[in-house]
Symmetry: D2
Subunit: 156 residues, 4 copies
């Protein structure tokens, strides 16, 4: 987990959105997920604030992981850049799927649970490589962009 | 769609659970799903009430479908039986994934959105055959059972 | 608390509605309620199963209470009968407001939180007596009935 | 309705909170409210941005209203100032109750529905005057402040 809209909360004292803990464990419980999952919160940031050093840290954690299948929850704004950084690292033997949400999980209308179910499924079946899973679809890391007008991911 | 817990509603006049329309279109909107999906409500029943004739109708609709990838939403109690009926029909070239929910989508704590995201993802990537997608996992139709004590699906 | 639709939960193993613990503490937290409230679960039943002995127990607990303002959460089907039983007990000096819900709190679409806010407000301001608070309104115990066709309470 | 946290929405393209339409009609439906209510959206603003001119407009709409009981939904930050402005206008014969929310209704954890049920109940029973209804309590307009550390309203 790296943060992103997925994990934003509403601060009722300031009226602003912020990060506290990740919602992923609660989401896995709600999805009655029975996969053997190891969770790691690498950072908890808005992906617009993710600089090269932070991106390098995500790559480093993926490299250090002993898992062959890795889902990275991530803000949507720079998800494609992080996917490229992960691809550039040539992590042989690993399938890495990045996913996120357009609406925080804490909101009733969030797409987060759908996307988490989707990413966890793709990561089990896709061959090694780096992918983005959003909108029910999966994309190769170098064949996708976020359309900021529609808020959806599309093939390029 | 064939009904199942997925689509149960609370009837506030009788205090009972019942079926009205499917929630799948609303769920796809919430998941910001951009897949090209054709929806068909084959029936709207509790899977405990699904007899051979009803099951034959589900098989028939799957056979008639021009889609190569089919997700069947279904009650969990007899999901494995319907999977077996679909497998027995030898629908060459089709990937069929059955999914459902332990808690109605209309409840806040439903696993339905997670499972729908999961099933729609598996169906795009798995080779032809008949599968059950529940609890974040996928199972071959003949290698799974519902554990009624835990309410989860497990490999056999 | 006496149960009622308010507090029904969905049992994901049996697919039936049942009672576990009351949701009222969680509802008070969600409403950021700052009233000095003492909670007591008298029973946890469907009000259709509430017999004279159970009703007498509710009256007894209201009589024993040292509070001057009492909210009784109750199933809607026999709420008016329990209101009558409380009125017959002539509990001088007490304002008692019965409320409930048409949809369980655990469902996204529940009226429970609205009704709880309403009942807790009426009970602070109304003169002594026994009332039903539903649908944003309050009724004297002997001037109300549940309209089972519309699922709403109305003056008689 | 004047806006406030109550009615904030999440803009999934910008990641910011904003106002669109009020949620009050949906909230009244969810509360199964049967009161004869006339709704008027006077403005849709964050109460921190409410200046004297805007406040005068709220007072003017209250004066022009033919209702004897008026609920004003309002941001919590300057709710007490607007209550004072309404009190200064000496609107004889009217009971005016201001309420709001600490968390947007669109979030699962909102206090909005509780507060709306509370305000609509207080306004029917309290004598003429101007009040704030928050946290399950009611306060005279000149005997309340918002504690910005706790996010609750308290008597002064």
């Amino acid at each position: 987990m790296t943060g992103g809209t997925f994990d934003k909360e509403y601060d009722e004292l300031t009226g602003r959105l912020y990060f506290r803990d990740t919602h992923v464990p609660e989401m896995l419980r709600r999805g009655r997920c029975r996969l053997d999952v190891t969770l790691e919160t690498v950072m908890m940031v808005d992906s617009l604030e993710l600089d090269d050093a932070a991106r390098a840290r995500i790559v480093e954690r993926a490299r250090a992981s002993r898992e062959r299948a890795i889902v990275v929850t991530h803000g949507t704004d720079t998800m494609v850049q992080t996917a490229a950084a992960l691809a550039a690292a040539s992590l042989a033997g690993k399938t890495i799927v990045l996913t996120g949400a357009m609406v925080p999980y804490a909101f009733g209308s969030s797409d987060g649970l759908f996307n988490l179910g989707s990413a966890l499924s793709f990561v089990q079946v896709l061959p090694q490589g780096v992918y983005v899973a959003m909108n029910g679809q999966h994309f190769q890391w170098d064949a996708v962009r976020k359309n900021t007008d529609t808020g959806t991911f599309e093939a390029i």
